[in-house]
Amino acid sequence: MRLARTVSEAALATEGVYSLGTGRYVEAATYGAGEKVTGVVVGPDEVRIHIVVRYPLPEPIPALAERVRERAASRVGGRATTVVVEDLEVVPDENL
């Protein structure tokens, strides 16, 4: 659970990430005693992060996903890290 929370915080702190995804057919989450972390699935060998990207994009989507992956990879202790861009959310430009 702690690992899922750490990864979730790292992903959300990345510029361009609007929120964490919830999965479509199966809920993407890590479950603990009485709580769950949505958007991060921690397995024995793999950590999967579902993100919703903020639009307009600060950089191309693959580069953003790779940045999230790199940030998370340093915190997952040797597990393979996968990033899934689940959706895009249009956010009004604050400068307008």
């Binding site: 994009l57 191309p60 989507i61 996903a65 790779e66 996968t82 899934v84 689940e86 959706d87 895009l88």
Partner: protein
């Protein structure tokens, strides 16, 4: 393939159940049945004889051209089904780079508004398929009014989508846009 496999398995299992029940009935001699009567009851006798004669003809090379065609078609069908069965399943998500993916729905939601920016397009229907290699296979069906120049709409929409996908960085390995004339009363947008 899954539906075909299920039908075959259902027929096979139904046959096995029927055979099993018949065998149990004969083993325990329920009613006036004898086990030696089972092949006759199942009417296997005619089948055995027909199969025996047919295989004898094949062995002696006494086969008609229609039989050769049917047997070859069965062998070919078996080969195709085997290849389809051995093929690994198509991935659910579109691969961008090593360890990064985007869902098909997200790609659809990116493509659809771009196509509908074309003034002639009243409605778009986007289908995205993930591939084993990086990049998505995108098929777009754009509905236009009767009498519009479908070719120019197709090429403009295609270049617009390509440009947008290049800007966002979503890899598209195969993109095809098709413009179809539709009745505006049946599309989501009637007037633009």
């Amino acid at each position: 393939m899954r539906i075909f496999n299920r039908i075959v398995m259902i027929l096979l299992l139904a046959g096995l159940v029927y055979l099993g029940i018949a065998t149990i009935v004969y083993i325990f001699e329920l009613g006036n049945y004898q086990l030696e009567d089972l092949p006759d009851a199942l009417e296997f006798g005619g089948l055995y004889e027909g199969l025996n004669g047919y295989l004898g003809n094949i062995e002696s090379g006494n086969v008609g051209p229609l039989d050769v065609v049917v047997l070859s078609a069965i062998a070919l069908l078996g080969l195709v089904l085997l290849i389809l069965e051995l093929k690994p399943p198509t991935p659910r998500r579109v691969r961008m780079q090593q360890g990064t993916y985007i869902t098909r729905r997200a790609v659809e939601r990116e493509v659809s508004p771009v196509v509908e920016q074309e003034p002639e397009v009243l409605q778009s229907n986007v289908k995205v398929k993930a591939q084993r290699r990086p990049g998505a296979k995108v098929r777009v069906r754009a509905s236009i009014r009767p009498g519009e120049d479908a070719r120019s709409v197709q090429s403009e929409a295609q270049s617009r989508v390509q440009q947008h996908m290049a800007e966002t960085g979503i890899p598209v390995s195969d993109l095809r846009v098709r413009a179809n004339e539709s009745d505006p009363r049946q599309t989501t947008t009637r007037v633009k």
